[in-house]
């Protein structure tokens, strides 16, 4: 755990001076409080002895100074530590995203959406507190401990030792003790919160089914049950928290009384100035302010390490694509694969000896049932994964010499699930060409036959596509993807089951649009449907990761092979 904690702390390395500065301000704040109470006690104790007023002058100035400085230091301490916290948040986000960007989408398929939401948003947000909750309080407490230890030594090492011991108990033993007492409970609370969160996401996503099947009440009961268990656990936790808070105060009071008991004989024997009785009592009382937040820090160590572990799990994944340092660029847009073989798990090959040639501007189709390796092929062509064996060659350059970003410049993709960002239609199109003018966008929409639809929307281009683009139908989403492809204007278009979730009428229309817009480009049309395949110059039939047949539509039908078999089975299905 400590090793992990250090790993997380390493991420904050760049902010060392910022953090030290905040800790120093924290020390001054608590120190001013101690100073205020000590000088105040000094004044009244001295005054009780009826000394001359001039003897109090310095103390009076001191009291005023500490009275002001405490508030001012507190203000700056908080300000600086929040600044650090938010800087760290940005740092952590960017750190995570950078790592994520390297491994996605190849390695991130297994993450589910709600999981990602909790993971990334809340884990990073818990790490965000690592400074204010984990680093800062112990640093301030340590500084107070050292300075007061030295101060008390002047009056007797026994006072220093009592203070050290009780500070240690309050700032270390009690927090550790309560931490272990609450550990299981804390875990339970976390898992119940996650469960609650999942239930919420699940319930909102499945709201239609829950309502249609009259299950809203049952769901509510489930939800209520989880909430009650959570509340029960949280209530137990509150007792522990209360113990934490009160234990430190109790120790503080016991320290004061212990020091008092040790000091009384010394005062009686005139070995210690009686004035110091009140000075020490009040000083020690205010010094304990520094250990008050430590129990929380200990809990946060655990929380941060957990969050960190989950994040490291993602960030430490090896990317599926390596980044060549060669900065080659292809000479043309001919695409060729040579004996392409690929396996995700090194046990079973997803693709075997795939060879095909796609000269510039040619249109080919790759058909096969789901699980035959079509999407794998697309992922390889897009360099999301790199091949195990065999080559892909683009414009005379081996893929292994090209970076993923370079390769993807030459491709546009229309896939089954068109991702629309929570943004306006315009912003969703601009990702394809950031500097596109409105005219370009409208032109692309017109080409994609979506202009009329967009113009029918109340805010036209500035209409929000909404989460998951709910307001857009499947066909409309595909047309958005087409418009993006037009804007990107890359030489090769991959359609990965682009139309297979549409009804056949919409499917046909979309395909017509696609064929029209790629007239002067290459097209790889991946599908399991056999409609309109006669429009492709060459068809490859994929089965279990192998190309089992190839040819044009007519000859494939005449061959009466695998293609014919699949074709017939689908035809019977529809008619």
């Amino acid at each position: 755990m400590i090793a992990r904690l250090f790993k997380i702390l390493k991420l904050t390395k760049g902010y060392f001076w910022w953090m030290s500065f905040a800790a120093l301000l924290g020390f001054f704040t608590v120190g001013s409080g101690v100073g205020l109470m000590m000088t105040s006690a000094y004044i009244i104790a001295k005054a009780a002895l009826h000394v001359h007023i001039s003897e109090l002058q310095i103390a009076i100035v001191g009291v005023r100074f500490f009275g002001i400085s405490r508030a001012v230091f507190r203000y700056f301490e908080r300000y600086v530590s929040h600044e650090v916290t938010f800087r760290l948040l940005a740092e952590f986000r960017v750190w995570f995203f950078k790592a994520y960007e390297r491994i996605a989408p190849a390695k991130t398929k297994d993450f589910t959406s709600g999981d990602l939401l909790t993971r990334v948003v809340s884990d990073i947000e818990s790490l965000e507190h690592i400074f204010a909750r984990v680093i800062h309080p112990p640093a301030v407490a340590l500084a107070i401990l050292v300075s007061l230890f030295l101060f008390l030594w002047k009056f007797g090492i026994v006072f220093s030792l009592i203070f050290l011991a009780s500070f240690f108990v309050a700032g270390f033993i009690v927090p550790i003790f309560t931490y272990f007492m609450s550990k299981n409970l804390g875990e339970k609370i976390i898992s119940l919160r996650t469960k609650l969160n999942e239930l919420v996401v699940d319930g909102i996503s499945g709201i239609s089914e829950l309502l249609a099947f009259n299950q809203a009440e049952n769901f509510g009961a489930d939800f209520g049950e989880t909430q009650r268990s959570l509340a029960e656990a949280e209530r137990k936790m509150s007792v522990i928290d209360g113990f934490n808070e009160s234990a430190i105060e109790l120790i503080m009071n016991l320290t004061v009384i212990t020091i008092f008991i040790f000091a009384v004989p010394l005062v009686n024997a005139n070995l210690l100035d009686g004035v110091l009785l009140s000075v020490l009592a009040l000083g020690i009382m205010s010094a304990f302010e520094a250990v008050m937040p430590i129990p929380l820090s200990v809990q946060y160590v655990d929380k941060s390490v957990r969050a960190g572990n989950r994040l490291f799990e993602i960030t430490e994944m090896q990317p599926a694509e390596d980044i060549p340092n060669d900065s080659a660029t292809p000479d043309s847009f001919d695409l060729q694969t040579e004996d392409l073989t690929f396996s995700y798990d090194k046990i079973q090959n997803a693709l075997n000896d795939i060879s095909f040639l796609l000269p510039e501007k040619k249109k080919i189709a790759i058909v096969g049932a789901s699980g035959s390796g079509k999407t794998t092929l697309a992922n390889l062509l897009l360099a999301f994964w790199r091949t195990n064996k065999g080559n892909i060659v683009l414009g005379g350059k081996l893929y292994s010499r090209l970076s993923g970003d370079e390769i993807r410049k030459y491709f546009s993709v229309i896939s089954q699930n068109v991702f629309l960002f929570n943004a306006t239609i315009k912003e969703n199109l601009l990702i394809a060409k950031t500097d596109a003018a409105d005219e370009d966008i409208l032109e692309a929409l017109e080409q994609a036959e979506l202009k009329e639809f967009v113009e029918s929307l109340p805010k036209n281009l500035d209409t929000f596509a909404g989460e998951h683009g709910k307001q857009l139908s499947g066909g409309e989403r595909k047309r958005m993807a087409i418009a993006r492809a037009i804007l990107k204007n890359s030489p090769i278009l991959i359609c990965d089951e682009a139309t297979s979730d549409l009804d056949s009428i919409t499917e046909k229309k979309i395909l017509d649009t696609i064929l029209r817009v790629v007239k002067n480009k290459s097209l790889i049309y991946i599908t399991h449907r056999f409609a309109d395949l006669d429009k492709f110059e060459e068809i490859y039939v994929l089965e279990n990761g192998r190309i089992v047949e190839r040819g044009d539509f007519k000859s494939l039908l005449q061959n009466r092979g695998k293609f014919f078999e699949l074709f017939e089975s689908q035809r019977q299905l529809v008619v």
Binding site: D202, L211, P458, D501, I505
Partner: protein, 578 residues
């Protein structure tokens, strides 16, 4: 502004818990007064009266006892204030979920899912602080200082006056700064939600970003968005901290003034040392509750802003006519369903999704809805399931306006197999039993067999107890559809609404689904959004939709000759089949 009346209502319902938390808080304040008294007496006895340890042993014992009591009171206060907030959280979350259900899927589709979930999870969590830290503290911040004053006034009138004069300045400052901070805090809450949604969105859309070579640009954008959030928040905090500064300054300066003032009077023998020390020890205790309120205040504001968002959801109303009189009687079996002059318009769209359409379905009739996507077929389903109410026209069931039927009773009549079924976190068994939770294992297996998914389920390592993850990650599209059909079989209701899958399904799977649908709709009143020719040809009636209108209706044989739209559709179907 100190008390949000909406939130206070929730505390009022739990008066005892709330009062207990304040009561124990107050007791801990009294314990603090006792502690100060014993300590000042002990020091006085030794310092001025030159007593020795055995003389002060009583005082030390009492001091220790008071310390322990204080600890216990704090725990109890903590316990009750958390009990209060926990109960309120449960109520709010349950109420939110109920509200979402009453709004229904169509009405919440305009909201961002992540944001909704965030409101229910984190938004409500923010309100926790309002009740556990802020509200009891608000009362204590008045009660404890007043109690302290009761002790101080008899001892030293002047100090009492200083305390009394400075204390009200604190709420005054809070009021002065609070209004501005509240406004900012609202903004910040919005920006936090947006930022989370944005970050989530980017992570989800990484493939699209990579394909367009935009993923690396996002690094800067995430930084900027977070930075923007930082700047907004720091702006809030600059003010929030300023209030804390003012509060802190008030209390520390007051202590400083009191210390000097009582010191000077001690010099002139106007005051006893023990009383002076008592006042000095108590001075921080006097300001502490008010200062704690200052820190809780910011968190309290957060709670209030979160509540505003929650309240906005609570107050969302569904457009459409309300019919107050609902007949709860059991609905008799289906003879005839009429859609009469039904129109519907979605909020975001300019044009009607349905435009004055009328049709009827007789008992055990199979009705196929066909037409281009966006022609209004799904709206019919939404109306039928009563996720939405027509903006015009009435749906009749056996001649009765369906709005007169309790919506839950109505839905028990219906089974629904949607286009993209949702698979819940849980076992396969539980997922099938969604449509009939009381079903026996035998019934579930029977339904699975009918939906042709039984064998597949058995092939999974845990069979029917196999856990399926979020969005049914472990199931293929075809399997999800078959689970959805198993639900419909299990429910065995009179009326069926089926959206034929159009998704990317393996031919074998597709064949199974279609034959299951056929089996399912036998001798049932069914509405099918059809994508397959054989479905259409077997239908008793076909409704052809175009731009929110039914343009043609009838059987295949007659439509093929007379229906212009239908023929065009049919021809495309046929062409696309080849």
């Amino acid at each position: 502004m100190f008390i949000n009346s909406g939130l206070l209502e929730y505390a009022k319902k739990r008066r005892t818990t709330f009062l207990l938390s304040v009561f124990f808080g107050l007791l801990s304040g009294f314990a603090a007064i006792a502690i100060a008294f014993f300590l000042s007496k002990g020091i006085n006895d030794v310092f001025l009266l030159r007593k020795d340890l055995s003389d002060v042993s009583n005082i030390t014992t009492l001091f220790i006892a008071a310390s322990f009591l204080k600890a216990v009171f704090i725990i109890l206060k903590e316990y009750f204030s958390n009990k209060l907030s926990a109960e309120i959280k449960i109520e709010l979350r349950s109420k939110l979920i109920r509200k979402l259900f009453s709004l229904g899927p169509v009405h919440i589709s305009g909201e961002k899912r992540g944001e909704l979930a965030n409101t229910i999870s984190n938004g409500v969590e923010k309100i926790d602080v309002y009740f556990s830290r802020y509200l009891p503290q608000l009362f204590l911040s008045a009660l404890i200082p007043l109690s302290v004053l009761v002790f101080i006034f008899p001892i030293d009138f002047l100090t009492g006056v200083i305390f009394l004069l400075t204390a009200p300045l604190i709420p005054f400052f809070m009021y002065l700064i609070g209004t501005a901070a509240e406004k900012q805090s609202k903004k910040q809450w919005k920006s936090l939600s947006r930022m989370s949604a944005y970050f989530f969105d980017v992570l989800k859309g990484i493939t699209a970003l990579k394909i367009f070579g935009r993923s690396k640009d996002e690094i800067k954008k995430i930084f900027d968005v977070t930075n923007d959030f930082k700047n907004r928040t720091m702006k809030v905090l600059r003010i929030a901290f300023l209030s804390a500064l003012a509060l802190e300054l008030l209390s520390t300066l007051s202590i400083a003034i009191v210390a000097v003032e009582i010191g000077l009077r001690l010099l002139n023998s106007g005051l006893e040392f023990q009383d002076a020390l008592f006042i000095l020890i108590l001075a921080p205790e006097f300001y502490l509750p008010i200062r704690q309120l200052g820190t809780g205040f910011h968190a309290g504001l957060d709670g209030v802003s979160a509540f505003a968002r929650i309240d906005r959801l609570f107050s969302r109303q569904i457009d459409g006519k309300n019919i107050s009189e609902i007949n709860n009687q059991i609905v008799n079996s289906c003879e005839l369903i009429n859609f009469k002059n039904i129109s519907f318009i979605y909020k975001e769209r300019k044009e009607n999704a349905l435009n004055n359409i009328s049709f009827e379905i007789k008992r055990n009739e199979k009705v196929a809805l066909v037409g281009h996507s966006g022609a209004g077929k799904s709206t019919i389903f939404n109306l039928f399931l009563r996720f939405i109410e027509p903006s015009g026209g009435i749906i009749f069931y056996n001649g009765k306006d369906i709005r007169l039927i309790d919506v839950n009773d109505w839905r028990t009549k219906i089974s629904w197999a949607p286009q993209s079924p949702h698979i819940f976190n849980g076992t396969i068994k539980k997922n099938i039993a969604l449509s009939k939770p009381e079903a026996s294992d035998k019934e579930i297996i029977e339904a699975a067999k009918n939906a042709d998914i039984h064998e597949t389920i058995l092939s999974f390592p845990d069979g029917y107890d196999t856990l399926v993850g979020e969005d049914g990650g472990k199931l293929s599209g075809g399997q999800i559809h078959r689970i959805s059909l198993a639900r419909a079989f299990l429910r065995d209701s009179e009326i069926l609404l089926i959206d034929e899958p159009t998704a990317n399904l393996a031919p074998a799977s597709e064949r199974k689904i279609l034959s299951s649908i056929e089996k399912l709709t036998k001798n049932k009143t069914s509405l099918i959004i059809a994508h397959r020719l054989n479905t259409i040809m077997n239908a008793d009636k076909i409704l052809v939709f175009s731009k929110g209108k039914i343009v043609e209706s009838g059987k295949h044989e007659s439509l093929i000759n007379t229906g212009k739209y239908y023929r065009a559709l049919y021809e495309t179907y046929q062409r696309s089949a080849v």
